[in-house]
């Protein structure tokens, strides 16, 4: 009964490759996010989607492209992987509660990406 799931849990790949991370939530939420956690544990938002529409796009290289086929899924595709992309990537979701607010963000278990 995982609320927010991500696949794969671990991803090891060579520089220059293209890879995707998948995220699914079964909470019925309409907002989903991608966060990056670096080696120092610093958490930073990358993207936010609301009902399949891009809401937040932080200063992330164009090599990163989120795709939301429906409001329960938000995948992250990364082109031309670089060493600095090595990190743990977290997907999260939340529900709008009106007044421009969203409720608690629920995080997935994370995907540890290692670029060699």
């Amino acid at each position: 009964d995982t609320a927010v799931s991500q696949t794969p849990k671990y991803l090891v790949t060579q520089m220059g490759n293209d890879k995707s991370i998948k995220c699914e939530q079964n909470l019925g939420h309409d907002t989903m996010y991608w966060y990056k956690q670096d080696s120092k544990k610093f958490l930073k938002i990358m993207f936010s989607y609301n009902n399949k529409e891009l809401i937040i796009n932080e200063t992330v290289p164009n090599r990163f492209s989120p795709k939301s086929p429906d409001k329960a899924h938000l995948n992250l595709h990364i082109n031309s992987l670089e060493l600095g992309d090595s990190a743990v990537y977290f997907c999260a979701s939340s529900q709008e509660i009106g007044g421009g607010r969203t409720d608690t963000q629920y995080f997935g278990p994370g995907t540890r990406l290692t670029v060699l």
Partner: protein
């Protein structure tokens, strides 16, 4: 630009003691201040949150103290237990913007 500053970076507390983690923010438009708990190999999970209309919120052993004029808020864990050993993140966001800005995290270790 670090909009939410968190201290200390790491903290060791004896079992039964009080753990205190502090955060300070810069953006006065922030109006939602959650604390997240993260265990190794897991995603962050909401622990407790506060809005600036109250100065304190308590849930079990966990209390947030909020000082709007000083732009500071802190997490107090009473009767700290070994199971509380984790990394704690404060965060902040503002109305109309789902973006959470996180602090740098505090690694808490509770020793017997």
């Amino acid at each position: 630009q670090q909009q939410v500053k968190q201290s200390p970076q790491s903290l060791i507390v004896q079992k039964g003691g009080i753990s205190i983690i502090n955060c300070a923010y810069e953006n006065t438009a922030f109006d939602y201040f959650p604390w997240y708990q993260q265990f190794p190999g897991k995603g962050p999970a909401l622990l407790i949150a506060i809005r600036p209309d109250v100065s304190e919120k308590k849930e079990g052993r966990f209390t947030i103290s909020f000082n709007k004029s000083a732009k500071q808020f802190s997490l107090h864990i009473m009767d700290s237990q070994p199971g509380d050993s984790a990394t704690y993140f404060c965060a902040a966001s503002k109305v109309g913007n789902e973006k959470l800005t996180f602090g740098t995290g505090t690694r808490l270790t509770i020793i017997p």
